[in-house]
């Protein structure tokens, strides 16, 4: 249960010398009563019971109009986040020009086109039907068909995907019929996503729609079992700033074979073949858990949650893989790699820690990053005072154990749940139930994510879908040493004289994953919290306005 603002426990836990309940009351004070009631359920003072239970946090619910939050739309989650990083699909945005334009190269997903034989890379391009008013009136299917034809004629891609924007759903274009027709005509894979911006309550709906689409149209098309030991997929890692490259480097060192990556540095060919892997690793639980679940049901590939953000978390995640495959060769290799990589990380951490120790951070970003990055701050000796997701669900906060308790509201019900059954020929449980139980007894959890809140201290503030007003208040009240969010929040926070680290785009830096990434992050946070610029805001004459003497001409 969420604690009401006026229901005061006998003795409050202090948060950075503040009473979090009072802070919460202050955040809500200015809101109209209905808004305050709603937001009260999304602002929670954390408390972890001995059995790991945490308070309920209302999340994945509609944003209050006019409050100014961080969220984007369904299209952004589908095209921008999940499908955007795949280099060899031509992604056509079906709609007016803006949506395609804003999602053109802005997410910093790096890719290496030379790692696939054909070298295709369409990520530097933006494709749009640039819908005009005549299509709004008479329908856009004809133009879409022609656009797919022109994309094929000009570029000869392996696959074309179509993404619907708001007006497409409203005027009723049958994007999927157009795709089927063009697929038959061109002989390449053509598929569509009904990811209109108004669907769901945030990007999250788009992630789900993207997962469904890839699963339906691509996964399982290529059954070739390629060479390599310890064959895994990495899910929910988007290679922002080269994160996936660093993780790939570690896999390679450990002798782990990466079959596919969803979807950083990815190719559609790898998606088609991904069901042949023996284990799915989930980084960003929110955006990709659907594919993992469906792959397990249909093909028998189990999944485990990993986190390569933070050196300790990286080591732990590599050990999980070794534990799963349970072979001496891999276990030794993983331990050797960790032993070789850690000294440089520890040295870098020790070097910056005197300047970061005890500093206070706030993180409001994404559906997993606000959780994962607390690891790196902890390694720097920094405290997280408050954190929250932009588009997370209760399971991302409280853990998947609450899944049965989550009520499906109208906004979520509109997002299709695919009916998945075991594939009659290809379903192949990678490990037996007995093996699973044995591994679980050793501490390897399958299909499990404990969420962010159980790992946060009591009294910290967990806030879902943070508004601009609340951001402003938190900064005035706590004056944190660093605030983590995205580009829209960056300068509103920095105008207060407090550095903001972008955890979507990394402020054009990175990688921050893995061991090398941890070192980069330590140095970056050291730079940001130690920068001299924050002392320059007052001019000498503002510090000492008095005049001690006057210059005068004799």
């Amino acid at each position: 249960m969420a604690m009401g603002a006026n229901k005061k426990p006998a003795e409050n836990v202090k948060l950075d010398r503040q009473d979090p309940e009072k802070v919460k009351a202050r955040l809500l004070a200015k809101y109209p009563p209905k808004v305050a009631r709603k937001r009260a359920k999304q602002i929670v003072i954390n408390k972890v019971e001995p059995d790991g239970k945490v308070p309920v946090i209302n999340s994945n619910v509609r944003t209050v109009p006019g409050l100014m939050g961080q969220r984007g739309c369904c299209y952004a989650g589908c095209k921008g986040v999940v499908l955007g990083p795949t280099r060899d699909i031509i992604n056509i945005t079906h709609g007016p020009i803006g949506c395609g334009y804003y999602s053109w190269l802005t997410r910093r997903n790096q890719t290496d086109p030379d790692s696939t034989a054909d070298g295709h890379n369409f990520m530097t391009y933006c494709f749009s039907t640039d819908m005009q008013d005549e299509e709004i009136i008479f329908g856009g299917e004809k133009k879409l068909k022609q656009a797919i034809q022109e994309a094929y004629d000009n570029f000869k891609p392996k696959a074309i995907a179509v993404f619907s924007t708001c007006p497409v759903g409203l005027i009723g274009d049958d994007v999927h019929a157009v795709c089927r027709e063009m697929k038959a005509k061109l002989g390449i894979n053509v598929f569509g996503f009904s990811c209109e911006g108004y669907k769901g309550v945030s990007q999250s709906a788009g992630h789900h729609i993207a997962n469904n689409g890839i699963f339906k149209h691509v996964v399982g098309l290529d059954d070739t079992i390629k060479d390599g030991k310890y064959r895994i997929n990495l899910l929910g890692e988007y290679n922002i700033g080269g994160d996936a490259f660093e993780i790939e480097r570690l896999f390679e060192r450990c002798g782990i074979t990466l079959v596919s990556s969803y979807s950083g540095n990815s190719s559609i060919d790898a998606f088609a073949n991904s069901h042949t892997a023996d284990l799915n690793l989930i980084m960003c639980h929110r955006s990709i858990n659907y594919v993992a679940e469906m792959m397990e049901t249909k093909f028998g590939v189990p999944w485990v949650k990993v986190n390569f953000i933070g050196a300790a978390a990286t080591a732990k995640s590599l050990r999980k893989i070794a534990q799963y495959f349970d072979e001496k060769e891999l276990t030794e290799r993983v331990e050797a790699v960790i032993a070789e990589e850690m000294p440089a990380v520890e040295a870098a951490c020790a070097e910056v820690r005197p300047r970061t120790e005890g500093k206070r951070a706030m993180l409001f970003v994404g559906g997993s990053r606000a959780h994962h990055y607390q690891e790196l701050f902890a390694e720097l000796g920094m405290k997280t005072l408050s954190a929250g997701y932009e588009f997370g669900h209760r399971d991302d906060y409280e853990g998947r154990k609450v899944l049965p308790d989550i009520k499906v509201d109208a906004d979520s019900r509109n997002i299709e749940e695919l009916e998945i059954t075991p594939d009659p020929e290809r379903y192949n449980p990678r490990i037996s139930d007995a093996q699973k139980v044995a591994l679980e007894a050793k501490g390897l959890q399958f299909s499990a994510y404990d969420g962010m809140m159980p790992e946060m201290p009591e009294g910290t503030m967990v806030i879902d879908d943070l508004s601009q007003y609340e951001t402003d208040q938190l900064i005035r009240i706590f004056k944190p040493d660093i605030f983590c969010a995205g580009i829209k929040e960056k300068y509103t926070v920095q105008k207060h004289g407090i550095p903001l680290k972008q955890l979507h785009s990394y402020d054009y830096g990175g990688p921050y994953a893995g061991f090398k990434g941890a070192v980069n992050f330590y140095r970056e946070i050291d730079r940001m919290v130690s920068s001299r610029v924050w002392q320059y805001m007052r001019a000498p004459w503002q510090e000492h306005p008095e005049l001690s003497a006057t210059y005068a001409w004799e």
């Binding site: 200015k30 109009p65 739309c73 952004a76 391009y125 640039d130 008013d133 570029f155 911006g197 105008k495």
Partner: protein, 459 residues
């Protein structure tokens, strides 16, 4: 290669836009609204729209860009957005307390046919608009025109909602600066004020989107045209609209509504563009041009003569917004440079194309012009017929790098360099700065390519 699939073979396309040189109306509406003092722009659509627009504007200006959204869900898209907008208006005034909310529509709310004035009436009837606070709106469907259209419509809406004639003519001159940088708006005003002219400029994003770091965040910074000034614009002596595409609709509306005569000019880029602006100001206000401006003009002419040899005959490809592209083209031609590939992403009409053709009439070779076109075609033209220099926004750097051609960034968006919001490219001083940028690009390239024998110390 960054754009490895761009071929030299140009195939006619009628449906697929590749690498657009324009974006959608609402972002222009948001930018214009930020040029009103104490104004919170509001996007009447799903929250993706405002998230994208705020992100794009923030990346360009490196400044806070505040705006709100009606946050449409599927239900609102079916039943209409009235409840969302009324609730948003209530929340915005309760929590953020702006002087004015500027609502712009999106493809979503336009397609379902939401009637914004009717929703405003409802909000006022429900008591959601406190005394002394204002609302205004512009219809900015994303499937018509471009970001420039959205800017133009929102600027016009300022006139439609607020301008009034009090029957007496004031000495003020209205300046409508067009979809230009905050630095440009400040420079346009400085030129007029240096002539002793009192001005009302709208919109005015200077000091809003190039504000200082003081440690105190102000959601509504000190810049921007006030509602009071907008009201008074109906009593000014005249209006000078800079940029026909971005500024003419507002100027014409003011003429029709309050009988304020207007002059529609090109953007004051380069010598002749600025001459036209200064001369119009002089005649409209009945003042003489001060020595200071004559000095600035003379310095620009002097520099053109000093550096002409490096500019003469250089072939340039230009991509951008119509008003900028036309003014830049005229400036380049005046420097004896040769704009040979010209693309605007925004549609701009037949009259515009004629002006552009007239501007390049004396270029001694064939000139490719596409209005509207995209950057894929632009790149194909460059591949087929390489140039010495590219002028365009940040996206053009992918072409510049692939083709190894120097790039001068100009227009919107510029995501990757400092300067545009602080240093104007308008007026005589701006002309000098633009020339400096052109020369730096050309001469850096010349130095880089010079061999050990022909390297020049003095240029």
């Amino acid at each position: 290669m960054l754009l490895r699939h761009t071929s030299t073979e140009i195939k006619e396309r009628s449906a697929l836009t590749v690498n657009p040189a324009k974006t959608c109306q609402p972002i222009g509406a948001m930018y214009a609204a930020l040029g009103v003092h104490g104004c919170l722009p509001h996007s009447h659509g799903s929250q993706g729209c405002y998230a994208y627009h705020r992100s794009a504007l923030t990346r360009h200006f490196k400044e806070p860009v505040v705006a709100a959204t009606s946050a449409f869900t599927e239900g609102a898209s079916v039943f209409g957005g009235q409840a969302n907008l009324v609730q948003a208006i209530d929340n915005i005034f309760s929590v953020y307390n702006p002087d004015v909310i500027a609502v712009h529509t999106t493809c979503l709310s336009e397609t379902i046919g939401d009637d914004v004035p009717q929703i405003f009436a409802k909000a006022m009837a429900d008591g959601k608009v406190p005394d002394g606070k204002f609302l205004f709106h512009a219809n900015t469907p994303s499937y018509v025109g471009s970001h420039v259209t959205g800017f133009a419509s929102t600027t016009k809406a300022m006139v439609d909602y607020f301008a009034e004639s009090n029957g007496r003519k004031a000495k003020t001159i209205n300046l409508i600066p067009g979809y230009v940088e905050p630095s440009d708006m400040a420079e346009i005003r400085r030129i007029a004020e240096s002539m002793g002219i009192a001005t009302i400029m709208f919109p005015d994003t200077s000091k809003v989107l190039n504000g200082p770091l003081t440690g105190k965040y102000k959601m509504f910074p000190e810049g921007g045209v006030t509602i009071d000034e907008l009201k008074k614009s109906g009593s000014s002596t005249g209006t000078i609209a800079l940029g026909r595409i971005a500024s003419m609709p507002a100027a014409r509306a003011l003429d029709a509504k309050c009988k304020v005569p207007c002059e529609i000019l090109g953007l004051p880029i380069g010598l002749h563009g600025t001459d036209a602006f200064v001369d119009t100001l002089r005649r409209m206000a009945g003042v003489s041009v001060p020595d200071g401006l004559n000095l600035e003009r003379g310095q620009l002419v002097d520099s053109i003569s000093d550096w002409h040899q490096y500019l003469y005959g250089k072939r340039v490809a230009i991509v951008g917004d119509p008003d900028q592209v036309l003014a830049l083209t005229r400036f380049l031609v005046s420097l004896d440079m040769r704009p040979v590939h010209i693309v605007t992403g925004s549609p701009a009409g037949k009259k515009y194309i004629k002006s552009l053709q007239a501007a390049v009439a004396e270029v001694p070779e064939a000139v490719n012009i596409k209005v509207p076109g995209d950057m894929y075609l632009f790149h194909q033209w460059i591949k087929n017929d390489p140039v010495d220099l590219i002028i365009g926004n940040t996206y053009a750097k992918y072409i510049a790098k692939d083709e190894d051609i120097p790039l001068v960034r100009h227009g919107f968006p510029i995501y990757d360099r400092l300067g545009h919001s602080y240093f104007s490219t308008m007026g005589y001083r701006g002309g000098l700065r633009l020339m400096e940028k052109l020369l730096d690009a050309i001469l850096d390239c010349k130095d880089r390519d010079a061999d050990d024998i022909t390297m020049e110390l003095v240029m």
